[in-house]
């Protein structure tokens, strides 16, 4: 059953509306838009309203930042083949990577960027499609480029990760009501998730960063996905299900992908990643991400 056939046929039909009386000419490509959303269970999440309670300690949260990159976006056709989405080029996506951005710089998100982006758009050859696959991350060849030399959407200093000469794939930050208590008893306001490739090393002879021990990219496969009726959600209730957001037991505040960070131990499992290897636990699956019906 090809969920997508109807939606794409509609788009194709619309584009041919001007010559409806003539023999339909097969369109060279079909436009596809994939919607994304940030939610906490059934609640929408944005910079304006606190949300929750989430986590083991049931904390109310204010959003501080929420952005992530996706690469290798493809539709899955009825034969099960991945057909790459040829990404439209704009300020949110280049030919290989798109940025989803749910913060608008208001409220607790102060310091962010004003625009938001909740869509990935592109073209596929005409066909019958029924699923979606993508990877949370930035392709290796682009990950270690400089934010000051690379074009949009890889030109954001906020998504740079200078200690690994790379990028944050996911930047998700929340301010729990009552703050975060650190291991030494000190208080902080923000709980951070920074996901990116770690253990990277460069080649001093060429001056280029060449390899990382832990890729920390999350491949996601949604075998039954209809972009007309569904969207991809990052569900913070699912992501933080096992986290204790009012407390930090050591290393970085929250989880900055540190392989021995106690907060990463619980969070990586919910991302679907093995903390030690940086590889997916079950390729294609991430408990934090799901297909949901559009509202």
């Amino acid at each position: 059953m090809g969920y997508l056939t109807s939606g794409l046929a509609l788009i194709a039909l619309a584009s041919l509306a001007g010559c409806a009386a003539k023999e339909p000419v097969p369109a060279a490509e079909q436009a596809v838009t994939v919607d994304f959303a940030l939610v906490a269970g059934a609640q929408p999440v944005n910079c304006g309203q606190p949300f929750g309670p989430l986590g083991r300690d049931r904390k109310r949260l204010a959003l501080h930042d929420a952005r992530f990159y996706v690469q290798d976006v493809a539709l899955i056709d009825t034969a099960g083949q991945r057909v790459p989405l040829r990404l439209d080029i704009n300020d949110w996506q280049d030919a290989q990577v798109a940025l989803l951005d749910f913060e608008d710089g208001s409220g607790h998100c102060a310091g962010g960027t004003p625009g938001i982006n909740t869509q990935v758009s592109g073209q596929v050859p005409p066909g019958h499609y029924r699923g979606l696959s993508l990877t949370l991350g930035v392709p290796e060849a682009l990950n270690h480029s400089s934010t000051e030399l690379q074009g949009a959407p890889l030109d954001l200093a906020a998504m740079g990760w200078s200690w690994q000469a790379g990028r944050k794939f996911i930047k998700l930050e929340v301010d729990p009501v009552g703050g975060v208590t650190k291991a030494d008893g000190a208080k902080a306001s923000t709980w951070y998730l920074h996901l990116g490739a770690t253990g990277c090393s460069g080649n001093p002879v060429t001056g280029e960063t060449v390899a990382c021990q832990r890729a920390n990219r999350i491949p996601l496969t949604l075998p039954d996905f209809d972009p007309g009726r569904q969207r991809v959600v990052l569900d913070l209730a699912a992501l933080f299900q096992d986290s204790t957001l009012g407390q930090d037991r050591g290393a970085a505040l929250g989880c900055m992908s540190g392989p021995s960070d106690p907060e990463c131990v619980t969070l990586f499992a919910r991302l679907g990643l093995d903390l030690n290897s940086g590889l997916p636990l079950q390729p294609g699956q991430s408990p934090a991400f799901a297909a949901r019906a559009k509202p």
Binding site: S146, A158, G160, S162, D184, T198, P204, V205, G207, N276
Partner: protein
């Protein structure tokens, strides 16, 4: 105001002197025969105009978000471009996690910062102080980047300098050019004229004590040379003709929290990046050139004097008897095999200290090429 107009004029004269087009060939490394030419990235060739632009930017607080910090706030020429503090203060008052390293001869570094194997060029290193938010140093971000560049563009001195330094670019005044120019200036900070260098060239003798210290330094008892044995007195060196470069990191027994080998977060060295137990507390050996003026010492500035550093190595580690960092560093299970109790005599310590002081390059500390150009008076 008269002085201001004066150095505008000086800038104009400079513009004429280094008139467009500026070829990379106008840069000459002036190095003694025991020092190889450094590697220079192909996309950022050296030129006199670029180095001069980089010097202006290095000393310009307008490059910080708050307008109160420049690169030179933490890298002072008279301190061999370190800052005499254990930890440095960023633009919003936050302290850095680690000690500000000196910049002399950083052109030859294979990696930068204290334990960052991913960072293998000055250009990429600069993103840390420029954009870093843990802690904020210069505080540049997506929200203020254009405003900061506009500040620079508003000074009549800068646009022509950017055009000269980056003649191949239609719009050269951008943050990438800022990074490249400051990197070129940093590469130009070369320190190879210490009394030791002059001794090697037969131009100046070393004292008896300095020579005894040198013998200790390069000998198999003190073993300093294993990690500090290159021409730059470190063990991570890349130069123009390097084919393969080792990037070792070392645990010297500074900590041993709870006897489990631990170093305090976020200063666990290479371990922060790799997560491998054996990388706990492993840091890059810094160059010992000008070490007399680069204290306090170690990655966290936790040894105040050079005498304390020599005592530390003589003992082969540090015991912290109480408090949250309690532990006997001598027994750190991840300590480098090269660090063992040496038990220097008092005379040996004095000799070693004398030799280390012979690595001070007075010209580095005073050469007008590296001084603050905004302070110059006509």
């Amino acid at each position: 105001m008269k002085g201001r107009g004066g150095y505008r004029l000086a800038g104009l004269l400079l513009s004429v002197l280094v008139a467009w087009p500026v070829a990379a060939q106008d840069w000459r490394w002036q190095l003694p025969s025991h020092v190889p030419e450094p590697r220079v990235p192909a996309d950022n060739p050296m030129s006199a105009a670029k180095v001069e632009l980089g010097r202006r930017l290095f000393y310009d607080p307008r490059l910080s978000a708050t307008g109160n910090r420049s690169c030179s706030s933490c890298h002072l020429q008279e301190r061999a471009f370190s800052d005499s503090r254990a930890l440095s203060v960023g633009g919003t008052g936050e302290l850095t996690h680690r000690n500000a390293p000196g910049l002399a001869n950083s052109a030859w570094n294979a990696t930068y910062n204290w334990a960052a194997p991913a960072i293998v060029s000055l250009e990429r290193q600069m993103e840390v102080p420029l954009f870093g938010d843990d802690p904020i140093e210069m505080g540049v971000n997506d929200g203020n980047r254009q405003q900061i560049l506009a500040r620079l563009a508003a000074d009549p001195l800068y646009p022509p300098l950017f055009r000269q330094a980056f003649a191949d670019q239609p719009q050269p005044l951008n943050m990438a050019s800022v990074i490249r120019a400051i990197s070129a200036f940093e590469r130009s900070i070369v320190s190879v004229d210490s009394r030791y260098d002059r001794y090697l060239q037969g131009r100046e003798p070393l004292s008896d004590s300095e020579q005894r210290g040198m013998a200790l330094f390069f000998g198999e008892r003190a073993e300093c040379h294993h990690c500090h044995g290159s021409f730059n007195f470190n063990d991570q060196v890349v130069h123009a003709r390097s084919r393969v470069v080792d990037t070792p990191f070392h645990n010297t027994g500074l900590y041993n929290i709870d006897g489990a080998g631990g170093f305090p977060f976020p200063n666990r060295g290479l371990y922060e990046s790799t997560g491998k137990a054996e990388d706990m507390g492993a840091f890059r050996a810094p160059s010992l050139r000008n070490v007399e003026v680069t204290g306090p010492y170690m990655h966290d500035g936790s040894l105040a004097t050079l005498e304390a550093v020599i005592d530390f190595y003589s003992e082969g580690g540090r015991l912290i008897a109480s408090g949250p960092q309690q532990g006997d560093g001598h027994l750190n299970r991840y300590k480098s095999g090269l660090i063992a109790r040496i038990d220097f005599t008092a005379q040996e310590k004095r000799d070693l200290l004398a030799f280390l002081k012979a690595l001070t390059d007075d010209s580095l500390l005073h050469d007008p090429r590296w001084q603050d150009p905004w302070k110059r008076r006509p």
